[in-house]
């Protein structure tokens, strides 16, 4: 347990000011876990490239989960990959966030009925913060998902969650 993380019974002016600073810092530097699974990863790469440039949101791809804050599950999550994704999520440092990108990661997509090898939604193995619909989503849709995630990070709190 960190010294201040979720230790406060209720917020006061100091706690909320610290929260604002902390959340601003976190949402402005959401480092990305650098991996892609399928064709959605191509759109994710396009979002990284100069036309869309997600680095202006402070998203920098990191090659290890220890340094990453957000994981884009971009593509079809096969059953073999699901255990790896679970392990990678476990190895990320908290606070950690998941953006499920595309229909395959959201719900199985075109494999929802007969895909014997596909996980029917990545939220069955890891907690997803933002679902981005599309097959594949355009980079603008991913940017929308990132902004939604930033709005969520902005509402994070140091106050102890009600049990």
């Amino acid at each position: 347990m960190g010294l201040l993380d979720q230790r406060f019974e209720n917020g006061n002016v100091f706690v909320t000011s610290l929260e604002n600073l902390l959340n601003w810092a976190r949402l402005s530097s959401l480092y990305q876990m650098q991996f892609g699974l399928a064709c959605c990863a191509i759109e994710m790469m396009a979002a990284s490239a100069s036309d869309f440039d997600i680095m202006r949101f402070g998203i920098i791809p990191r090659a290890t989960p220890r340094q990453a804050d957000v994981m884009f599950v971009a593509g079809t999550v096969t059953l073999k990959m699901a255990s790896r994704i679970k392990r990678l999520y476990d190895q990320m440092a908290e606070p950690r966030y998941i953006i499920s990108m595309g229909s395959c990661a959201n719900c199985g997509g075109p494999y929802w009925e007969h895909g014997y090898h596909v996980l029917k939604g990545v939220d069955r193995v890891i907690p997803v913060d933002v679902f981005v619909p599309g097959c594949p989503p355009r980079p603008e849709a991913l940017l929308e998902g990132i902004i939604k995630l930033q709005e969520k990070v902005r509402r994070e709190s140091l106050v102890k969650k009600p049990a």
């Binding site: 347990m1 960190g2 010294l3 201040l4 993380d5 979720q6 610290l18 902390l22 290890t64 989960p65 220890r66 790896r84 994704i85 392990r87 990678l88 476990d90 190895q91 440092a93 908290e94 606070p95």
Partner: protein, 149 residues
């Protein structure tokens, strides 16, 4: 009076405070909830196998060296290709000589078997020893010759 090295000292102190302050704030604010899956070694999402301090095959070194040579060759080729039209025949011949030298090296490496991944078996010379007579006066013929298989 502040000497020039005094400024360096102030820089060092401020730098140390900066790093220590950042680490202290991080220790103060970060969530710390370790569990076995989280603290497991990172091996690209696979189950961690064995020790991280494994021995590397030394032949990777030779392959890396050869790769480096031809990597640098390509680095030279790109600017040459850009100005090729201006250089004309002279540029072509120069690059042909350069590539020829590297090609000789490549052939050498290939012939010596450094590109073969299979471990070359050592050619131990087989020694034929004629039976040594016990009398001591006769000729003790010791023939040493490698047997070619």
């Amino acid at each position: 009076m502040l000497t020039e090295f005094g400024k360096v000292l102030i820089f060092l102190i401020i730098g140390a405070i900066f790093v220590a302050g950042g680490m202290f704030a991080s220790w103060l604010l970060r969530p710390r909830r370790p569990y076995p899956g989280k603290v497991a070694p990172y091996e690209c999402g696979e189950d961690p196998v064995g020790d991280a301090w494994v021995r590397f095959n030394v032949r990777f070194y030779v392959v890396a060296l050869i790769f480096l040579i031809f990597d640098v060759e390509v680095v030279f080729l790109f600017p040459w290709a850009l100005v090729y039209r201006n250089l004309g025949l002279f540029g072509f011949l120069e690059m042909a000589v350069f590539l020829g030298i590297l090609l000789v090296g490549y052939v050498y490496v290939w012939v010596k078997g450094d590109l073969d991944w299979d471990k070359p078996l050592p050619q131990v010379p087989h020694i034929n020893r004629a039976p040594i007579s016990l009398s001591g006066t006769e000729k003790t013929a010791v023939e040493e010759q490698p047997v070619v298989q």
